[in-house]
């Protein structure tokens, strides 16, 4: 499974400004968050990216995309009907092809020199199946993420077969259904925000949408859970960290992490120490 397309969702009205934030990357160059995400995607071999946006924000995104603007397709989500619905809007763009799916309000920092997107795309190729990046997450954060129950693949340190997916479970439920051998007590595998999926997901979303009431929104997790029930679907523990730009000090944390990951590490550390040493 070799994806050539990606879908980036950025239509949530509360979070649509996040990819447009300016940030200094690991090399000290100032870019938008969107630019950093797109660089990772194209470096991973993808050819084009569809961004699902709120109506009227295309121009801002085009500006923020910088040199990558010509490889972008914009799809507007007229009414916010959930993450699943936003993905479904890209069905015509995706067709029956495999695609990378990620959210626009997160940045991903690899610890291995290979970007998180590249790591995941490589895994999809290697296993020839849908894959989702996951990360061990403390139970106090479960209310924020889709969480998976898996079976470890013997001999494979990063890939596991997904059995169960529950959106934002309580630890009560997680302890019963989502315990993963090898993780520390109270930690579970939660979605990292990057997936490599194929066109069947769009079919499943289509079915889900047909039974959706007017006032309901569609998440992606039920569809992924169905996918896990119907075919081999892997969770991949990536060597990287995700940063949610939308949470309090999320952008700051991402910025510090990026700064420490590059050649200007000493400069950032010195600044941090000075800040820490300064009197209140």
């Amino acid at each position: 499974m070799v994806p050539t397309k990606a879908v980036l969702t950025a239509a949530n009205p509360a979070e649509q400004h996040l990819p447009l934030q300016t940030i200094t990357d690991a090399n000290g160059e100032t870019k938008t968050a969107l630019q950093i995400i797109l660089e990772d995607l194209f470096a991973a071999g993808l050819e084009s990216v569809a961004i699902v946006i709120a109506p009227g924000s295309e121009e801002a995104y085009l500006r923020a995309a910088g040199p990558h603007a010509d490889k972008l397709v914009f799809i507007e989500q007229a009414t916010p009907k959930g993450y699943g619905h936003a993905v479904w809007l890209a069905r015509d763009y995706v067709g029956s092809n495999p695609f990378v799916l990620l959210v626009g309000d997160h940045l991903y920092l690899s610890h291995s020199g290979i970007s998180c997107v590249s790591q995941l795309v490589e895994m999809a190729k290697q296993h020839d199946t849908c894959v989702s990046a996951v990360q061990p997450t403390h139970e106090s954060q479960l209310h924020l993420y889709g969480t998976v129950g898996v079976t470890r693949i013997p001999g494979d340190k990063t890939a596991s077969e997904i059995n169960t997916i529950i959106e934002k479970p309580t630890p009560t439920r997680a302890e019963q259904d989502l315990i993963v051998p090898g993780l520390r007590h109270g930690n579970y595998l939660c979605f990292f925000g990057i997936h490599v999926l194929h066109g069947k997901v769009m079919e499943l979303l289509d079915q889900q949408l047909s039974s959706l009431a007017d006032n309901e929104t569609l998440g992606l997790t039920p569809t992924l859970a169905e996918l896990a029930n119907s075919e081999r679907y892997l969770a991949i523990e990536l060597d990287g960290t995700r940063f949610n730009l939308g949470e309090r000090y999320g952008l700051l944390r991402a910025q510090i992490a990026l700064g420490l990951a590059g050649p200007h590490r000493d400069e950032i550390l010195t600044s941090l120490i000075e800040l820490l040493a300064a009197k209140k």
Binding site: E139, S140, H143, T170, P171, T172, E175, Q176, H185, G186
Partner: protein, 1076 residues
């Protein structure tokens, strides 16, 4: 050496593994037993697996309790090291055992040491079991995270957004959880006790039915009796309200959530904790509740939780409180997204988590039942069974079964609707009103299971077979066969395993139901742990309506008859019931759904002791009248109060000076008759016995049984007459203490050919009931004079001082409880100290039934009362030859007019001869000592140091042989003064002696009943003068005789009964009695 007993424990072959310990020990000599004990002790220390370890502990307990003592010689007593006793109190059982074993290695085996070892092994066994249950509860998946969460910022739960919505008036919606209660058609010999289920999962089976209830004649319809309401409030607090207990509290600190006994809301607090809202892991973190609520509910918001059980009385044996806990946990779990849906029934895995959380909540709250108690969470009729522990269970490798059972809910293809209807059409469900403590029964069941006592083990197998009969009958809708099976269960396995599951009240109800309804009475059915409270009577359907009315009448009459003899918590009630097909279920009913009394409660304040409204004026006599009629001395009372407040008297002041030298008595201070043989077998005592027989034949002796008290320990301060309690079946009938004492005098008198006069001393509390009871029983046809001697004085109880409460709880050695129970106890102590201060230290205790406010002034006065009230004059007039009185406590069942002891007393020429017995661990409260060189009895209250008592070899049984003339001379009186009934002279003589006796201040527990079967226990202060202190006078010639333990031991607590029946005590008493 190979151990025969370890081989039994480890046997693969079930037949060998199930060998009864008694059988295995039969052939073993003292040395064999001691070797077995050493090997067993070594074995249990090394063994990791729970079952062999615990079984070895129970073997050790039983050997030291039952099998070693009869094989020890008279001289093998062994003194209990105080250090070991202190370790026992602190629950450091292992170290206590090591200390006792060390003493045994030094001094050799002994009866006293064995009693201490038995107690230590017994407690360690139960502690081991409790620890395992606790560990299992914590490791149930779904519960574990709550013990890891220690900081508010880690709270992973969030309130469901539906509950945060507001209506136009700003109010949030109300979530209501409605839960039926459960009744068990069979528990297969208490097989749902956690440990039984975890060790013998194949035998753990319960047929359990969820029912809606109404009180017959009060409620129009049946409904799920248990309700929990939850809503979000705009204040960062947790507000708890119990509608039935009329209590509410607004909690704004984490510490208060864990303070269970502060108010009546402990169950609601346990639910808040067990549901993960305030997880147990956060206790003691020092964090703010508001921070936690901020994360859970939102800024400035909190939770309100309301409970209601529709006034269903406590103690119904329908697991109302466990199902209420489950309902509260269910509502809280739904509200915090721990269930799939906010409303409707629960999914199976959610029910299981509610069950696990209810078990956890009960442990947190310091209580505990069996695993079937949350049965109301499931729908309809179900079979709950124990499950073997598999590799995925935390119990795997530790116990054979796992903590959590499985539930099979019968569908209509298995038990058709017609059969369910037939059950409803025939069963009359009642609450008999008795207050019952099931705790000791559950311990006895566990112990007997582990010892595989032969008949009980067979009973257990029969109970399992009977369960199949019950299920078959139910499936066929054959309720007559069902009634037959439940009755066979009650009279067969249940009573084989625990004879104390029944009582005279229950037997009376069954007999009268049978008498009235004949063939149409199809059977009796015991609910829960024991009978007397919740029970079922099964009738032919065409007579059910009539039976509901009649059973009410029968129960009310029987309660009136036994009201003073048995502890009742409430008036009996009959229920209406229907099978609930849904189990627990929730809805969002709207603001008007809260119970009406919720609003009343929130218009009032609720101090902890606010239950006056439920206290009627009792039997018509006011406290004032009672005081006046019973010789209350107001001047003395005020003097005691002044002394109490000024600190001149108090618990600490009861003690002898620290400088007093307390030593064990010397051999010359006692006569040892601890192995009393019939005179014809022991020539040394032939002459003495002859002298006693002659006195008996000559009518020179009368018996005085002290029956003025309530026996606080016997009924937990319930205020019944202990003497009238039908405590045990002996030779086919339930016998009261009074009847048993009379039966002994009857037999002795008959043998002598001269009936013995028998006196019972009574008090304000016991006189009328005793007189009425004896009248109704036609004096048990006692052939001799039977007299009651009414008490002549009474005291008024006082609210204790903080100083005395602290002395009792903090400065004297106290039995520490299991971790969680200890927390609850300490919380209760704080609340009670607060009660004492707010009510007024040393103020009169009047906030209870008048009779519960009075107290007897000590058994010293019982003999003087005979002089004052003319009883002795009557006796001396009737038989001038009377020379001796035998005085004994109501609970010293072995005391009788033994001719050898009588002869010995007469020969000695002593004024008073006191009987003492060798001491065991449980014999606390003083003993025979040399105090500054003078042999005398010392009360436990007077011991200057707690360890002093442990140096004493002998315990005071209180049984006293009294030479009447010498006694009168102590009071400066003569027979002539008594016969002339010179009251002034008699009073003066008595007062002169009483003034020289110490006055002890004591704390007693008194029950206060309120609401629907609710009971609170309060410590109250009273004072007393004690008979044993007659030995302090140098001019009173006292003798001390060591008698066999079976003669001198006292039956103070119903929990002793089972051992009493098994260790030969009951047989010994039987041998002394003639019932007709």
């Amino acid at each position: 050496m190979d151990s025969k007993l370890i081989a039994i424990i480890q046997a693969e072959d079930p037949a060998r593994r199930d060998t009864a310990l008694k059988l295995a020990c039969q052939e073993l000599s003292l040395d064999d037993l001691l070797s077995e004990c050493a090997l067993l002790d070594e074995f249990r220390r090394k063994e990791d697996n729970l079952y062999p370890r615990v079984r070895a502990l129970f073997f050790l307990y039983a050997i030291h309790r039952y099998h070693l003592p009869p094989k020890l010689s008279d001289s093998q007593i062994g003194r209990i090291p105080f250090a070991g006793y202190e370790l026992l109190l602190k629950r450091r059982f292992q170290e206590a055992i090591d200390t006792f074993l060390g003493a045994m290695a030094d001094e050799g085996p002994g009866d006293a040491l064995s009693s201490a070892l038995a107690s230590a092994y017994h407690q360690l066994a139960f502690q081991t079991l409790a620890d395992q249950v606790r560990k299992s509860v914590r490791t149930v998946r779904g519960n574990q995270w709550m013990f890891r969460m220690g900081h508010p910022d880690d709270q992973p739960l969030r309130i469901r957004k539906e509950l945060l919505a507001t209506s136009t008036d700003g109010a949030h919606p109300i979530l209501r959880e409605r839960t039926p209660v459960r009744m068990d058609l069979s528990h297969s010999g208490w097989s749902d006790i956690f440990f039984l289920g975890m060790d013998f999962p194949e035998g753990a089976k319960v047929l359990n039915v969820s029912v809606d209830l109404g009180v017959h004649g009060r409620d129009d319809n049946t409904r799920p009796p248990v309700e929990a309401y939850l809503r979000i409030i705009d204040e960062p607090v947790i507000r708890l309200t119990s509608v039935d207990l009329k209590a509410t509290a607004t909690i704004d600190s984490l510490g208060e959530v864990f303070d269970f006994a502060k108010d009546y809301l402990g169950l609601l607090k346990a639910a808040v904790i067990a549901a993960g809202v305030v997880p147990p892991g956060i206790e003691g973190s020092g964090k703010d509740l508001s921070t936690l609520l901020n994360r859970l509910v939102g800024e400035g918001k909190g939770i309100e939780l309301v409970s209601s059980v529709n006034d269903i009385p406590k103690g119904s044996r329908l697991a109302v409180s466990t199902n209420l806990l489950a309902a509260l946990i269910g509502a809280l779990m739904r509200a915090t997204g721990q269930t799939e849906s906010l409303t409707g029934p629960l999914l199976e895995n959610e029910r299981r988590i509610v069950l696990a959380r209810a078990i956890l909540g009960e442990w947190i709250g310091g209580s505990g039942g069996g695993w079937q108690d949350s049965g109301g969470v499931w729908p309809g009729i179900k079979l709950i069974t124990g499950q073997p522990a598999t590799e995925t269970d935390p119990e795997h490798g530790i116990s054979r079964g796992r903590l959590m059972p499985s539930h099979h809910v019968f569908d209509e293809s298995e038990i058709p609707a017609s059969a369910r209807q037939a059950l409803q059409d025939s069963l009359v469900l009642v609450h008999g009103g008795m207050a019952q403590n099931v705790g000791p029964i559950l311990e006895m069941v566990t112990e007997k299971y582990l010892l595989r006592s032969a008949s009980e083990w067979t009973g257990r197998q029969e109970a399992l077979a009977l369960l199949d009969d019950l299920i078959t009958a139910l499936k066929q809708g054959d309720i007559k066969a069902l009634g037959d099976a439940t009755t066979r269960n009650f009279y067969g396995p249940i009573q084989t395993i625990i004879p104390w599951a029944t009582n005279l009240f229950t037997e009376t109800l069954i007999a009268q139901a049978r008498e009235h309804f004949g063939e149409d009475f199809w059977g009796f059915w015991m609910l829960g742990g024991m009978s007397g409270g919740g029970m079922g009577f099964i009738f032919a359907p065409h007579r059910k309506a009539e039976a509901q009315e009649k059973m009410q009448e029968i129960m009310t009459a029987a309660k009136a008859r036994f009201n003073h003899a048995l502890p009742f918590a409430m008036e009996p009630v009959v229920y209406d019931f229907s099978i609930n097909p849904h189990g627990t279920s929730a809805d969002l009913p709207g603001p008007e759904s809260l119970p009406a009394s919720y609003h009343q409660i929130h218009g009032e304040t609720n101090p902890p002791d606010s239950t006056d409204d439920t206290q009627s004026k009792d039997d018509g006599s006011s406290l004032k009248d009672l005081l006046r009629d019973n010789g209350f001395d107001e001047l003395l009372h005020e003097e005691v109060r002044r002394d109490l407040l000024s600190g001149r008297i108090g618990l600490a002041q009861n003690r002898l000076p620290v400088s007093a030298v307390i030593e064990d008595v010397h051999p010359e201070d006692i006569v040892d008759l601890s192995q009393l043989h019939p005179a014809d077998e022991d020539p040394a005592w032939i002459d003495v016995t002859k002298r006693g027989v002659a006195a008996l034949v000559g009518g020179e002796i009368a018996v005085v049984s002290l029956a003025a008290g309530a026996g606080s320990r016997w009924t937990g301060g319930a205020g019944t007459c202990k003497a009238l309690n039908p405590f045990a079946p002996l030779d086919g009938s339930y016998r009261t203490f009074i009847e048993t004492h009379l039966a002994k005098s009857r037999k002795t008198g008959h043998a002598a050919g001269t009936p013995i006069p028998h006196l019972f001393t009574t008090s304000y509390l016991t006189h009328e009931p005793t007189a009425a009871f004896l009248d109704a029983a036609d004096n048990y046809n006692y052939p001799g004079p039977l007299l009651l001697s009414r008490g002549q004085s009474v005291g008024l109880r006082m609210v204790p001082t903080e100083r005395d409460l602290r002395f009792a709880w903090e400065e004297t050695a106290q039995q520490q409880l299991d971790e969680q129970q200890q927390k609850v106890k300490e919380s209760l102590h704080t609340a009670l100290i607060g009660w004492s201060k707010s009510t007024g230290e040393a103020s009169d205790y009047t906030n209870n039934l008048p009779l519960q406010c009075l107290h007897p002034v000590g058994h010293f006065f019982e003999i003087p009362n005979l002089l004052l009230n003319g009883t002795l004059r009557g006796l001396l007039t009737e038989r001038p030859q009377l020379k001796t009185l035998l005085l004994h406590n109501i609970d010293t069942l072995g005391a009788n007019v033994d001719p050898t002891l009588l002869g010995l007393h007469l020969d000695s020429g002593k004024a008073l001869t006191f009987e003492v017995i060798t001491r065991r661990l449980e014999d606390r409260g003083g003993g025979l000592a040399r105090v500054d060189g003078h042999p005398r009895l010392v009360e436990g209250l007077a011991m200057p140091r707690e360890d002093a008592e442990f140096k004493l070899s002998y315990y005071n049984s209180m049984t006293t042989w009294i030479d009447i003339d010498q006694l009168l001379s102590i009071f400066s009186l003569t027979r002539e003064d008594i016969l002339a009934h010179d009251l002034e002279k008699i009073s003066t003589g008595i007062h002169a002696i009483a003034a020289r006796l110490p006055t002890y201040l004591t704390l007693k527990e008194v029950k206060k009943r309120w609401g629907h079967g609710q009971e609170d226990v309060f410590p109250v202060t009273q004072f007393e003068k004690l008979w044993g202190d007659m030995t302090i006078f140098p001019d009173v010639d006292c003798g001390f005789v060591v008698v066999p333990r079976l003669r001198g031991q006292q039956l103070k607590d119903p929990a002793q009964l089972d051992a009493w029946l098994r260790d030969g005590s009951a047989d010994y008493i039987r041998s002394l009695c003639s019932w007709s």
